[in-house]
Amino acid sequence: MNAAEPPVLQVSGLRKYFPVRGQAAWSRKLHVRAVDGVDLSIRRGETLGIVGESGCGKSTLARLLIRLIEPDAGDVEFDGRRLGIRGGISVREMRRAVQMVFQDSFASLNPRLTLEATIAYAPAVHGASPAEARRRAHSVLAQVGLAPEQFADRYPHELSGGQRQRVNIARALALQPQLMILDEAVSALDKSVEAQVLNLLLDLKDELGLTYLFISHDLNVVQYLSDRVAVMYLGRVVEIGTVDAVYDRSAHPYTRALLAAMPAMDPDARATEPPLQGDPPNPIDPPSGCRFRTRCVFAEPVCATVEPPLAAVHPTASTAPEAADHHAACLMNLPGSRHSRAPQGALELA
């Protein structure tokens, strides 16, 4: 992981509002702000975990990245080439280089196609001959640990959940992607199978030099798999940094609350942060200023007026080397923000 190397995927200002259905024509148009200005970059070879509660926009973000839905605004740059402009990368090229594994292993496989046909479909779409596509299907089946001679002619309903998810991974691999988006890819599996699939993902990454965008609500799994983590809240990234930085030195109160809600095996290690109360606010009408202020124990009047930008966490001596890589969107993290807990210093607003 070399920070100087250009990121494999760079996202800036990505935004998607979904219109609310069933409103009267004369009323003010309401929108669900599913993804509301997300900036991210993923470096080649790393695993970026994305965590957050249900409805915070994780899956919408994944679908925006692979253009299953069109964003309202924002730029996506793959390998330094911008998506959707002349001379940039085309959606089709992008879809070859970026593949996705969905959460529902059953719904993501066509029940009427054999595994071989399902996996060979994508290479065939991209111009491989039937024989070549078949060969590719067999080789990726073997890569995910399903013997091709035994599984190639089976149908999805003949497989277990773990096997189906392996097929989904194989299907994604068949296009030899550089980046894999794993949208809750192991969440529906039971724990022992989940562990197997996670290890398979790690092995595949080493073997093929893949980059992962790993979306999950399971903090343990994200910690296990990821190099860096982004925490999302109401369509925004509120904290991003290395796993160690985010998990051990969380700068955003939401991250701390999430981590506090994580069951700990060691009673002495249990966090003492107060748990979050209630549900996230309605994404149709998010709170002004900081979106988390309605549930934040540190909220002050200034939080309702200023929307905190994603800023570098104030470096301290012990964390200096990583500090540049750790960002949080909280006024307590922003020098001179007029929040009583903000770092006092003459640092520039970067």
């Binding site: 299953l68 879809r95 070859r96 593949q99 969905f102 009427r112 994508a122 309903h157």
Partner: protein
């Protein structure tokens, strides 16, 4: 299975009525009116004009089956196309197609069939046309809902994510998964169609006398129900058995088409 064989038998009987019928279905006899079963070579008796009822039932099957099956096939072609396009494309196209379809769907089917047939005039082609129009909306509705369901499944998303074009997705991923349920539903409409066609003939809007057709026969035999109820009930029984067979066939088809079975 049993009903499929029974249906095959009914179809064969109708097709080969020329060879099977013991008598001319149009030869009347004032002396032999409304005779009971087995009367002088008339195995199932005679109707109100002394015509051999078995022969008329065999010949009547031709028209009844034609009017049961052909509107459904025609409506399947139109309705499934509309519904699948609406479901697959979605958005404004969906709204346009489905709202138009809903206008027709709002009328009770019997009323609509009678109204269309009534305005077009009696006759077999008009009856088939009116039944076709009656069956397009329900088939389009089913096709649209099934297609919308399939379109939103992750495997269609995965196919799009692998760079596939709309036509390829339609052919490989959508059609294969929606045609089954649509066929099954359409099959269930055949029995309805036979009954509606019979109803139209009964009202004098479908087949005209002296043609043999089950619904028309039921109508003309109606006054005889007090004199010879068994004979009068036979065309009704033929309609009943055929529609039940089609319904059971539908259930069988549904099971056979279910991939997870």
């Amino acid at each position: 299975m049993v009903c499929a064989m029974l249906l095959a038998l009914i179809f064969l009987a109708a097709i080969f009525a020329d060879y099977l019928a013991p008598a001319d279905p149009y030869k009347t006899s004032m002396l032999l009116r409304l005779k009971p079963f087995g009367f002088r070579g008339h195995l199932l008796g005679t109707d109100e004009l002394g015509r051999d009822l078995l022969s008329r039932l065999l010949y009547g099957g031709r028209l009844s089956l034609l009017m049961g099956v052909s509107p459904v096939i025609a409506a399947l072609a139109v309705g499934a196309t509309l519904g699948i396009v609406a479901g697959f494309v979605g958005g404004a196209v969906n709204t346009m197609i489905m709202r138009t379809v809903d206008v027709f769907y709002a009328f009770p089917s019997v009323l609509l069939a009678i109204a269309i047939s009534g305005s077009l005039g009696a006759g077999i082609p008009n009856a088939i046309l009116s039944l076709t129009i009656v069956f397009i909306p329900p088939i389009a509705r089913v096709a649209e809902s099934v297609t919308t369901g399939v379109r939103n499944l992750d495997y269609v998303g995965a196919a799009r994510a692998s760079g596939a074009g709309a036509l390829s997705i339609m052919r490989i991923h959508v059609l294969r998964n929606v045609l089954g349920p649509i066929f099954v539903y359409a099959t269930s409409l055949i029995s309805v169609s036979i009954i509606l066609a019979s109803g139209l003939s009964f009202l004098g809007l479908g087949v005209e006398p002296p043609h043999a057709e089950w619904g028309l026969m039921l109508n003309t035999l109606r006054p005889a129900i007090y004199l010879n109820p068994a004979v009068a009930a036979l065309p009704g029984a033929a309609i009943l058995v055929t529609s039940i067979c089609f319904n059971l066939l539908t259930d069988g088809l549904r099971q056979a088409m279910d991939v997870r079975a």
